[in-house]
């Protein structure tokens, strides 16, 4: 799609986009706009786009207690971004968001998997087979790693990997990939795999009894057994 076509598209769709995004804003409000808390809150969304082409936050979840979980097999067709297996989960201590088969063709951005994780106010990002043009992107990029992409007549896009923003209350928002793309003079922002969680609670004065980590899968014990495998 050319820049001029995107501009025309945006103009024609502006009213509809504004109306529906406003509606979605109400629906997704609790997930995205909930006031950040110091502890006990996690939220996530898999993908969001704002600008000439608007995509409301996909697979948005939020939780202050029990685990919330949501998946979408694929993103509906649109002129900007392709993705599949959009998955989010959040509880009072953590949030995780992942997408697979990401492709932002205009930007030359692709990845087999993009995952953001936030646990007790600490964040990390995992990128599998991620590329920006011909450039391979790091599997675990440092926080707020900026990469620029030249898009010819469209201008220059800025891609931030592992974007981390700490709020005043200590909560952390981690966005695995945030791309800011100029489209005919207007800015399109695409956010992929974004999570928010509060920082770890202060240690209680009287330590709680030591409990084994809940539901943590055990390390295996090798068994004496032979299996011919494909060497």
């Amino acid at each position: 799609m050319s820049a001029s076509r995107l501009t025309r598209t945006a103009a024609m769709a502006a009213t509809v986009v504004a109306t529906v995004v406003a509606t979605v804003g109400v629906a997704a409000g609790p997930a995205l706009a909930a006031p950040a808390r110091t502890t006990g809150h996690g939220s996530a969304y898999a993908l969001n786009a704002a600008g000439p082409v608007a995509v409301p936050a996909i697979s948005a979840v939020a939780s202050t207690g029990r685990k919330a979980d949501r998946s979408l097999l694929s993103l509906p067709k649109n002129p900007l971004v392709k993705a599949s297996a959009l998955h989010t989960t959040a509880d009072r201590a953590m949030a995780r968001a992942s997408v697979a088969d990401l492709l932002v063709k205009k930007l030359g951005l692709s990845a087999s998997a993009v995952t953001a994780l936030c646990t007790h106010g600490k964040g990390s990002v995992d990128l599998v087979a991620a590329r920006l043009g011909k450039q391979h992107l790091a599997v675990s990029p440092a926080p707020n790693s900026a990469v620029r992409a030249h898009l010819g007549p469209l201008g220059t896009a800025t891609v931030t990997l592992n974007k981390q923003v700490r709020a005043a209350d200590g909560s952390l928002r981690v966005t695995a990939i945030e791309a800011r793309v100029p489209i005919a003079g207007k800015l399109e922002t695409v956010s992929v795999s974004s999570v928010t969680c509060g920082k770890a609670a202060a240690q209680p004065t009287t330590p709680a009894p030591q409990q084994p980590p809940a539901h943590q899968a055990p390390a295996p014990t090798p068994v004496h057994h032979d299996l011919p495998v494909t060497g």
């Binding site: 598209t9 509809v16 986009v17 998946s71 649109n78 989960t89 068994v223 057994h225 011919p228």
Partner: protein, 271 residues
């Protein structure tokens, strides 16, 4: 899902409003593209399976073939690390309330069976199977004898870069140059999982073999085995960085040592 299209192809995803407000209705068949992981209250009951019928069902092991198993709905998507161990041999169904197609044994390859959970709804868990065909799944009726857990480990194998990366909760524990399959016998791509941890009684090329829940696409059997793909060591370091194996991923000794503590069922993503 409804998509409003305007002139020029702009789009607005109206159906997502419903998805965002409805609490993500579960869809066992995924017809609307949704696959819920939030358990819903009620679901169809499992048809009882007699001991005689149970004995006739194929075992969902790396040696077995399960006909009628539904395909993994997202074979390239990341797994979330939820794993389950059936404490007893458990029937596998083709859908919630459907027909039994296999038995998932409590043990295989002399170790405990742990498989990844990819959906959880209405008293049923959808799991990836270690049997042939690859990239298939099955439904287990949830029962109290099953142990569920979470693995924070992720193994990523980039075949083109000959790179294996291990992370725990997103933190990189290591990345190593490895050997993968040849063009004729490639290492199969997609998501799979760590199936077992084996210490061969008479090791020839590796003291530790880590079979995966996937098989060679080009070899029905290999060396007397069912063509299982595995992670393992290799004594000659000149192979690392090359396409030389029959499908397995050959790793340096340091990698194998770190990989040895990764829980069974942990996600492995091969690209």
């Amino acid at each position: 899902m409804h998509v409003i299209r305007t002139y020029g192809g702009a789009f607005v995803i109206v159906g997502l409003v419903a998805a965002l407000t409805s609490g993500c209705g579960a869809s066992a068949k995924g017809t609307a593209g949704e696959a819920a992981r939030t358990p819903s209250a009620a679901g169809p009951k499992a048809a009882p399976v007699s001991a005689a019928r149970l004995a006739r069902l194929p075992h969902a092991t790396t040696y077995g073939t399960v006909h009628g198993a539904p395909a993994d709905p997202a074979p390239n998507a990341p797994l979330d690390g939820t794993v389950v161990h059936p404490a007893r041999d458990t029937p596998v169904y083709d859908r919630p309330g459907g027909k039994p197609i296999a038995v998932l044994p409590a043990k295989q390859l002399d170790g405990p069976t742990w498989v990844p959970v990819i959906a959880d709804q209405g008293g049923w868990r959808r799991v990836l199977l270690p049997s042939r065909p690859d990239h298939t799944s099955g439904w287990l009726p949830t029962d109290k004898t099953q142990h569920t857990a979470t693995s924070a480990y992720r193994i990523a194998v980039d075949r083109g870069a000959h790179r294996l990366t291990l992370t725990e909760a997103g933190r990189r524990l290591g990345a190593w140059t490895v050997a993968v399959g040849t063009a004729k016998n490639p290492t199969p791509a997609g998501r799979t999982f760590l199936l077992a941890s084996l210490s061969p009684p008479k090791p020839t090329y590796s003291k530790l073999i880590l079979p995966l829940g996937t098989h060679s696409n080009s070899l029905d059997s290999f060396g007397g085995g069912p063509g299982t793909v595995a992670l393992h060591g290799w004594p000659d370091k000149s192979v690392f960085g090359h396409d030389v194996s029959h499908g397995c991923v050959r790793t340096p000794p340091a990698a194998l040592g770190t990989l040895s503590r990764v829980p069974l069922g942990s996600p492995v993503q091969i690209t």
